[in-house]
């Protein structure tokens, strides 16, 4: 990797860390569990790296191993994305204001 690219990526990293601390410290403790499951979903962003790996052609003498590793990584990252977003939605849907429904089995 060229050093200019590396510097550029570090630049983005540093700004994102500061941004993260700013916005996440505003999340009330009421929502900390959905915040964590939502973070799980977003850390599934590794899907993008896994997609590229799983889509590698089997040439250049590497065989299929890289693509298989990519597919397994993709599966785990997808569990995070799908599991994380849906369980967060399920939880947030339970947070209601006064006059809740009379069901609650």
């Amino acid at each position: 990797m060229e050093s200019t690219v590396l510097i550029f990526l570090i630049f983005i990293l540093v700004l994102s860390i500061f941004l993260g601390f700013e916005i996440i410290s505003k999340v009330p403790s009421l929502l900390h569990t959905p915040l964590m499951s939502g973070s799980n979903a977003i850390s599934g962003i590794t899907v993008l790296g896994s997609l590229v790996a799983a889509g590698m052609a089997k040439n250049a003498g590497h065989g299929e191993l890289a693509a298989i590793l990519g597919a397994v990584a993709l599966m785990f990252a997808m569990i995070n994305v799908v599991g994380g977003y849906f369980v967060t939605d399920r939880m947030l849907n339970m947070f209601k204001k006064k006059e809740p429904k009379k069901t609650g089995k």
């Binding site: 990797m1 941004l19 939502g38 790296g49 597919a71 785990f76 990252a77 369980v87 947030l92 849907n93």
Partner: protein, 464 residues
């Protein structure tokens, strides 16, 4: 338009969606919308990556996506709310594993193109991923109490073993970075990957079940850092932005939990935490005063302002719905009822709020510790259900107590305190609770659910 420009434009939009998603989480009213926006951002990023020219075949991609989606949906809808800490722990681990595998795949396919710097990044991504994976697996098993007990596992020379593992990882990493395309590179990779897996186990196994919330938060942060590190390998901005947001979130939550337990991170990971603290015998004055449900009813019936302090014991006896019924009865009776929630009330940050919300308790009745303490003097009855250490005044009054300095809900300042408790046992910290011996405190022994139902019954029969 150039494909790579299109892809990167969409990545910018995805980054905005993630940031907005977290921002909208600042209020329960907008949080659900935020989560959906964030999800749309993720979906767009996935779709646009599929047209990346580096992607040349779709068979493995289809398998990976389908399998992951199916398992993800199953987890999302099958996991009970009490199981949220385990699920988050498991997902932390999967995030780490994905990063480890991506690092491996990249190394396998491109080792001959790698310089020392690239190899060092592969090393970093692989070890963060591996530690996150094995550490999360142990945390999950401890919470489930499946393969290992929740008790801390200690052995002699623990820190030396951990130190040796780290040393080995670094040495293998240095060789790997110097000769990434060399003969031994695969061996070096295997050695540091296995050592990193061992490190995750070594770090988490000595930590007791009571401290798992801190560990889960920290591993949540690691899973973000792992995504960040993979972003450096594949040179993808979006991975770095998203990973950094998650990393920051995990660190913030870790600090909040440590503060609420009055511990430093170092103390959680190195000290003999989680093991019961042997305090010196305290001079306790007063005696335990037991009441029956019928007497407790009279106190609640006369109260205008009631604060309920729930602990994990409430969830253990599945009493959330019973407590909501009692709340409704007391509100019909004209009382103002709220729940005071300590940051460590559940098994992870915010867990108690979710458990109460599940039982249809509205979120504006849930009050944070810092908001409720200043008003405690005007509370008629403070009812404690399945909580112990978090209401122990020893934290404020007894300097010899292991709890000294821990922030507590100051229940003892209410006019009357009713404690619902299964038996006479001590809390997690193994400390006698001074509150129980106070003059204004009454003990209502028995299963929380049964006691609550008895109280609801009293209210109902009085009305009819």
């Amino acid at each position: 338009m150039n494909i790579s420009i299109l892809i990167n434009l969409v990545y910018i939009l995805s980054a905005i969606a993630f940031i907005l998603g977290f921002k909208l989480m600042s209020s329960p009213e907008s949080a659900r919308r935020g989560n959906i926006i964030s999800g749309v951002g993720m979906l767009s990023a996935i779709i646009v990556t599929l047209i990346d020219p580096q992607v040349q075949r779709y068979d493995y991609i289809a398998i990976g996506i389908l399998a992951g989606t199916a398992i993800g949906l199953l987890l999302a809808y099958r996991t009970p709310m009490t199981g949220m800490p385990q699920m988050v722990g498991l997902l932390n681990g999967f995030g780490g594993l994905a990063s480890l595998l991506v690092a491996w795949a990249e190394f396998h396919a491109r080792s001959e193109l790698m310089g020392a710097g690239d190899a060092a990044i592969v090393w970093l991504a692989a070890i963060i991923g591996a530690v996150t994976f094995s550490g999360s697996f142990i945390a999950w098993a401890k919470l489930e109490e499946k393969f290992i007990s929740g008790k801390p596992v200690m052995y002699n020379g623990q820190q030396i073993v951990t130190g040796l593992i780290i040393l080995g990882m670094v040495v293998a990493g240095v060789f790997f970075s110097l000769y990434p395309a060399g003969e031994g590179a695969y061996w070096h990779f295997a050695i540091f990957a296995v050592l990193a897996l061992a490190l995750g186990v070594a770090l988490v196994i000595p930590i007791g079940g009571a401290d798992m919330p801190v560990v889960i938060c920290l591993l949540n942060s690691y899973s973000g850092m792992a995504a960040c590190a993979s972003g450096f390998i594949v040179q993808n901005n979006l991975l770095i932005v998203a990973g950094a947001l998650v990393g920051a979130s995990g660190v913030i939550l870790t600090l909040i939990m440590c503060k609420a337990m009055n511990r430093s991170i170092a103390n959680v990971f190195l000290g003999g935490f989680g093991t019961p603290v042997k305090g010196e015998a305290l001079a306790i004055t007063g005696e335990l005063k037991e009441v029956k449900a019928s007497d407790a009813y009279l106190m609640l019936e006369a109260a205008n302002r009631v604060v309920i302090v729930p602990g994990y014991g409430l969830a253990v006896s599945q009493a959330q719905h019973a407590v909501r019924e009692l709340m409704e009865e007391m509100e019909k009776n004209g009382a103002e009822v709220s729940f005071a929630i300590h940051p460590v009330a559940g098994r992870m940050p915010g867990h108690m709020n979710v458990l109460l919300a599940e039982a249809n308790i509205s979120y504006d009745a849930m009050v944070e510790m810092d908001a409720v303490n200043p008003q405690m003097d005007s509370v008629d009855v403070c009812m404690i259900i399945g909580a112990n250490d978090v209401v122990n005044p020893a934290a404020k009054e007894d300097k010899t107590s292991p709890l000294w300095g821990m922030p507590i809900i100051e229940a003892h300042r209410a006019r009357t305190v009713i404690v619902m408790k299964r038996g006479r046992g001590k809390g997690f910290a193994g400390v006698e609770n001074l509150l129980f011996f106070r003059n204004n405190c009454r003990m209502l022994y028995g299963d929380a659910k049964t006691s609550l139902q008895a109280l609801v019954g009293e209210f109902k029969s009085a009305r009819s």
